[in-house]
Subunit: 499 residues, 2 copies
């Protein structure tokens, strides 16, 4: 009886936190999509206030008593335990840091973000360096409060991808890096150079919008429980139960940008839309981890969205919307959108080299938190690695070390989840093919719902109930590894580049 009542109260308590979270997401979405220019500063205050109200509830003695009770109770079922576990992660992360130190950190982050913007504009790392030093020092200090086992950096990785360690990533990323570099060598050596000149033309925004909508509908993104808007940077956000929205950005000169960002965000959104209703109000109605979430967006964007099967179905419609493609055979189009071209900017990179951008960031973050590199040495080290892995060299800090805002926000340990998404995605796809060997035929016919159903049943509907390690094991029977993604890359590019 005590258990039943306590569980009821715990659920009410968590539901209230979820309400705050949904209000925050709505205000955030509006700030990115709709807010008039002059309204932004006050909105920041409102967001700050609501965040602190939510934080109070996530760090109260009351939630601590629920966590302790349910984590030690033998009656707690899987969901209740996951709720308590999730609550504990937030609680520990916040409560182990002295309040004044955390407040100082928040201010430092806000100053750092402003400095990074300026530094990026002026392509001058020195303007950002003192702020980066400060944030690194804060994070080092926090790691001491939190405690760690093997590596300080582990603690940062674990926040975004529970269970991930330097030890695991070193093995996996080394294997991945070697495989990609070797593939790159073969691609560079290949005589076959697919033509993609037809991707430099004008693509009317209205036609782009229609193609995006059509693809999203076929993917199973429910537009009665979501919507597509325009923002500077594409993102996905869940504003509440049955309200998962995505944004994109249309460029008239870019055929691929809006489309693939829609497919990418659509992958995130379908994940969120497919989570079981019974997890509403538990704070588990979200992805299992950053990496698992990214696996769904990248699986849709690349493994599906850049596949021959996908374009077999969508190319005729695309040719109607963009008549300039009419003279281009499907096979040329397919190869054209899969051209490999090492470049400097992560978010503009091709499917193959993308992971190298991430691995470089991983290696630098690891070196930073191991104390193997000073921030002074970072730009040169960055450039050296780009030269070595990708064969390209930044001409200034803006297209080098300053390109991403993550570090300016103190998000160390976040980058690896992008690459892990590729690996998880290929592993899931392998498992899916065992269950549905004819998946390519389905996709060729425009049936993306079979894929959606399988992902829903195996991954999506469980939300954050399973730990990512549990989930990948449960779905694929294997641990996280790079094998299937490497096999996929080898097969895809040897076909396209003919080796």
């Amino acid at each position: 009886m005590e258990f039943t009542n306590k569980l009821k109260d715990f659920k009410i308590y968590m539901k209230d936190i979820e309400y705050f979270n949904c209000a925050l997401s709505t205000l955030y979405w509006d700030a990115r999509v709709s807010i008039p220019k002059k309204g932004a500063p006050y909105r920041g205050d409102v967001l700050g206030f609501l965040s602190s109200e939510m934080y109070k509830r996530q760090t109260s003695p009351e939630i601590k008593s629920y966590i302790d009770y349910f984590l030690s109770s033998e009656d707690a079922d899987k969901i209740t335990r996951a709720m308590a576990d999730q609550a504990k992660r937030e609680y520990d992360r916040s409560m182990l840091i002295p309040e004044d130190r955390y407040r100082a950190y928040v201010i430092a982050v806000s100053e750092s973000e402003a400095a990074w913007e300026q530094a990026k504009d002026k392509a001058d790392f020195n303007l950002f360096k003192p702020h980066l030093d400060k944030l690194i020092a804060f994070n080092r200090e926090f790691i001491e409060y939190w405690g760690y086992e093997d590596s300080k950096y582990d603690k940062l990785l674990d926040y975004y991808e529970p269970g991930i360690t330097v030890k695991k990533l070193d093995t996996i990323f080394t294997e991945l890096k070697d495989a990609i570099i070797s593939l790159l060598d073969r691609i560079n050596a290949s005589q076959r150079k697919p033509n993609n000149a037809f991707l430099r033309s004008d693509y009317p925004v209205d036609a782009q919008r229609r193609l995006c909508d059509s693809v999203l509908k076929k993917m199973g993104y429910d537009l009665n429980a979501g919507r597509v808007d325009v923002s500077v940077h594409p993102f996905t956000v869940t504003l509440g139960h049955n309200d998962v929205r995505i944004t994109t950005h249309y460029y008239i000169k870019e055929f691929q940008s809006a489309l693939f960002s829609c497919i990418h965000e659509g992958g995130h959104a379908i994940y969120e839309q497919n989570i079981s209703d019974k997890l509403t109000g538990t704070m588990l109605k979200t992805g299992a981890s950053m990496g698992i979430h990214e696996s769904q967006s990248r699986l849709y964007e690349n493994i599906i969205g850049r596949s021959r099967a996908f374009w077999t179905y969508f190319y005729p419609e695309t040719q109607e919307l963009f008549p300039q493609f009419k003279p281009i055979p499907l096979d040329d189009f397919y190869k054209g959108i899969n051209v490999v071209q090492p470049s400097l900017i992560r978010i503009e990179s091709d499917e193959l080299t993308y992971s190298l951008h991430i691995i470089i960031r991983y290696e630098l973050e690891k070196a930073i938190f191991n104390g193997d590199v000073s921030t002074e040495e970072l730009p040169a080290l960055w450039n050296k690695k780009y030269k070595e892995y990708l064969g390209v060299e930044p001409q200034n800090d803006s297209e080098g070390i300053l390109q991403d805002m993550h570090w300016s926000s103190g998000n160390f340990g976040y980058f690896p989840s992008y690459a892990l998404g590729n690996l998880y995605g290929a592993q899931f796809m392998q498992a899916l093919k065992k269950d549905m060997p004819d998946i390519a035929q389905h996709i060729t016919k425009g049936d993306l719902l079979s894929l959606n159903d399988w992902l829903k049943k195996n991954i999506h509907e469980h939300g954050a109930v399973y730990h990512p390690e549990e989930l990948i094991k449960k779905v694929t029977g294997e641990k996280l590894n790079a094998k299937y993604f490497i096999d996929y890359l080898n097969a895809k590019y040897s076909d396209i580049y003919g080796f």
Copy 2:
């Protein structure tokens, strides 16, 4: 010292309430403008949760101690006293009702709104009657908790328009009713019947949008601190400091609908945008009352927006956007948009007869709360009054007593503020003309900013610091009265109808 510290704390306390209010407004705006269909029910839960969090703060022992302290302190300045006064109104209204009765009422309202929708669809008052009975009984009960002097209905009126009583309204509305009915008689007897056939045509939505934007800009509505969206029913909402948004609805067959709703909502929005920044965080950054707010929207919509001076400036642009007006002389156009045609539906009525719709509702509400009429008798009484005052008769309850949703939400006492807006507006205009006798010439030249400035200085920037009675006295030197509005109507319609 105690005073200073306490005032600082009071301001922080009120600012937090304002943050909740802004979050609620943002979620509300989104629910009307953007939310995907399936997302609405959960959004209702989030709104309910945040409302109750705000309510807790508005009814806490802490706020009671601030109210008591500052209302009895001789050091409190005008603004502080107004803050405490405003807080007391909310506090008393809520705290005098036993909690279980209030909770029961909230449920009754929600059931009643659903029943009203059904009843309106089926044009059957009997489906709504039991709910209306229930809400009336609740309001009678609440009035006993609150206490009252002369009339029970006074207590309801006072909530929307502080200081307004049945005694005052009886005098004012009788005078107004007689004047309008006598004007209507003269209009009906007039040989002159302005032609408005040119208002039945197609008006492309894009051209309507451009005209609306152009007019709003000229009015001084700051689109960097606001935006115009589309919703089923037009409304204005303040989402935060420098973020006041309006909505409208474009109908291809209606030239006047979107335009005049934009001017109307623009009037509300300009009021909100013009409130002094120093009132941010005080909960006084809003209109002085419902009636004063409505005075600004109706002044812009009718006294300005349907004036000859206004169209002298905007007609050439309008003719460019809608070439079908090119053969129509300005004077014919002006008369055409001012044709008087008594009709059944309040929100579609012309400027002259609008107030009669309100007076009928006022008389019925008064009779209800005086116990002079049973709900059973209401539909017949409604129809009788429409026949008597307007010369039209509803064919069913849907175009009669069921047309407005206000009663289904328990908003008794709300309607009169719409008509008071007309009276306040004409009084303000009279005062403005004393300061700026050449205002019509300004408007003829498209200079609406002089008007905006005067309204800002005299009315807008004070927000809710002044009680409406104080404000009208301060600005016009007189009490609320019907004289100036009646003079305005007589002058306008004798000119148009030639008597």
